[in-house]
Symmetry: C3
Subunit: 337 residues, 3 copies
């Protein structure tokens, strides 16, 4: 039984199959492949777009979604084995995952990192425990990666460019934000662009913004196997020059994980990293995107967002279609039911 | 494409068409007019009745509702153009409305005023921005007016009186409440009663409780065009005498909007404005109603609520039926799909 | 019209009928008995499992559930008659129950006791008021009893033992927990085991943990009429010896209801009441269970939970099936519709 925890576990061909199915859904193809089936959407963190698109996607496939709202990161679920549970955790994932598996056919989980200890949080312990104990497929709705966003992004890119992005110059640029954020979407941008063979530049204000080696190494492996390259740079002009794709994301520097006051001086180096028409003029008529929500005139200037180059709306719409493809693929695995 | 933001934008005939369709639904007529369609219910403020009746109404029409709970008034959506979004707002309505429109076929919004600045809040900026940027119809679930409640109220009145209310004496009376409240339901009572040609008296403890000129002027215009009249009075006995309909609502005086301490002495003048059997004895055997929730023995005495004259339960039930009529009319506009 | 407020109101034969229908659902029997019908799930207290299983159960029967989340015990509903509602309560159950009844076909309620005054809370006033004023059947999703859990437990027992539990030795044992808890599941364990004729021992650290006479008396009556017995004991070894069933629950001692500091010394007497392999070795190869959530290594040791004797997962799964049987039975009463 396969889960959808990270695109790392799926080949480029398999991912393309999901994208092709999503494109078919977008063009009007109907399916009742979830007829009589249910999916639990477990949110340890808030969501509007993800819960909407999964819920409606399940409905359009004939199925039914239930939303379990764990109100922030405080839902008392223990995931370590052998613990004496005399603290705030009321239930173990061993029980929660098995019982939920007896009610539903799919479990989707959003669980952001806690900004406490990256050494343990980089193992993605909650969703990993769920996937271990659940007896139905588990889907990642964003933890320390965001694989559904990756598919939506890649589908939008393929729609815009009319084909594969292998050999294209793909710029993932750090952009300003008032707060240090999770690296999930940055990791995901790196994973999907390298998986599909792009020449990826990661533009950061300082090398302390390097992404975790787990994802840097995966990206190196993907490009070694399938073409493309991965570069970390602090040179704004070089990074934008000739870029075919610009993807914006803000994130906190991992060496200061949870100690954000010390990160401030490095963050200040990126004060002018907002995407502007001037920077876009350096590119090869690039498309530009950002996972929503997005702060206008902080991350990307209005003039760029409101230009034809911006594909963030299409990317967000594609969430609905790619998630239908993922739910269908996981629900139907193991043959007809 | 038409929205349902205020009954001001719909003619009396169009509204009667919605009421007739609602009456048909109430009498058992079935429809699958939302088959395969979705509606997003966005709540910036809490709700039980509205979310229940919209959700069930969509289900009964073959459709599917998703509830987006924005937890109070704090959901970080920016609606002004050109803003540098470095504050608490994480997303602009321009993006939110367009993306949501790509997932669903209808968007319904509840967004109460903030009690900060009536000069800007009287423009209903959030729902207005949504209606501007959404590419699907938008329905008002209560902002500074409450048009769905208006239809439910008018349907209940027509059921009770067996026909039109033109020429009837319609009393909208201010009633006590521990806190200053939104004027939405009072505005709506005025709009729908004047639209349908009633002789409307607004009974208040003091003229500071006059409703906003936006709605007073609309009501004057409706009665000038379609018959009826509008009067503001502080004379309790005269107001109740011969009334055919008594509608109760409490609201805060707009001149003290957000400065409620200064409103207290005027509020005290209405301490005995509760609807009692003695007041009802002055009427022409009037029906009496109130939008729920309703504080018993504060706004209306038990002896009135529990008498046959009270039509608040029917009015609340009618929410289900009129909202089905509204959803159907908006979803089907522009021809068969 | 019958409600499902407590198994006390249903005969053993009627309950067995529900269990048989639940077993049929579990074995794959399909039904569309809620087609076009809705159920409101009103939660005055949090829930994940109950809301999931009711929601999915309604969907599987062709119906539709709406979840009304009353966020803790603070939802402002007044249930006393004649009150001047000038406090925090905004609405009376008289209105809420009647209006909700006009939207849905079934109402299910979770409303835990407040830990303030057992003399009034033992009357279960909120759900009692709802059942009085609603015009559709009301289902108890846990108040001071938990009848759906009872059915799920009994179905799991019948699956494990292959038949009736009359004459079996049934041990309900108090177990440790950091906080004093509601007696609902303990009351329910007592009610269902005695209703089905077991020899019930209630093992407690001190006689102050005796359950309310309302339930002790019912249990005495059930065993007098239908066989079995009820005993309260503090003798751990005797209680476990030869037991066929061990059911674990922690609860607060009613004489100290709301004054939990004074309960602490009695609670300390049960410090070693956790279910261990050593205790289980005294039994007649007993099955062991607990209503979820369950703190591992506080209430029951890992070695017991992870042994074949543990049937808590099956019991939790059965919630889905028994609730479908209850919803169907209540929705279909009074003949075909």
């Amino acid at each position: 039984m396969r889960h959808f925890l990270s695109t790392e576990d799926w080949s480029r061909n398999e991912l393309q199959g999901l994208l092709d199915r999503a494109a078919a859904f977008k063009s009007g193809v109907k399916s009742r492949s979830l007829e009589g089936k249910s999916i639990a959407l477990m949110f340890f963190n808030p969501s509007l777009r993800t819960r909407s698109s999964f819920d409606i996607g399940a409905y359009q496939l004939g199925g039914h979604a239930i939303v379990l709202d764990a109100k922030g990161a405080t839902w008392p679920l223990e995931f370590s084995d052998g613990t004496i549970m005399d603290g705030s955790e009321e239930e173990h994932v061993r029980e929660a995952a098995r019982v939920l598996s007896s009610y539903v056919d799919l479990i989707a989980i959003r669980c952001f990192p806690q900004f406490k200890d990256w050494a343990s949080e980089r193992e993605d312990p909650m969703i990993t425990a769920f996937a271990k104990h659940a007896t139905v497929p588990v889907i990642n709705m964003e933890t320390i990666v965001h694989p559904c966003q990756e598919l939506a992004h890649m589908l939008a890119l393929q729609e815009r460019t009319g084909g594969p992005i292998a050999g294209k110059k793909y710029l993932l640029t750090w952009v300003p934000h008032p707060k240090p954020l999770n690296t999930a979407v940055a990791n995901s941008s790196l994973l999907i662009a390298s998986k599909f063979g792009a020449d990826v530049s990661i533009l950061v204000p300082d090398e302390v913004y390097r992404l975790d080696s787990r994802y840097m190494d995966s990206a190196e492996r993907f490009t070694a196997e399938g073409g493309g390259s991965v570069t970390l740079t602090t040179d704004v002009e070089a990074a934008y020059s000739g870029a075919d794709v610009v993807y914006a994301k803000s994130w906190g520097a991992l060496p200061f994980y949870g100690n954000w006051d010390e990160e401030a001086p490095f963050r200040a180096k990126g004060a002018d990293f907002m995407i502007t028409p001037e920077k876009m003029a350096l590119t090869n008529n690039a498309v530009v995107s950002h996972c929503l929500p997005m702060r206008r005139n902080v991350k990307i200037a209005d003039a760029v967002v409101d230009s034809p180059a911006f594909m963030g709306i299409e990317e967000a719409e594609n969430r609905l279609h790619v998630q239908k493809a993922v739910m269908e693929a996981l629900a139907l695995q193991g043959g007809a039911e």
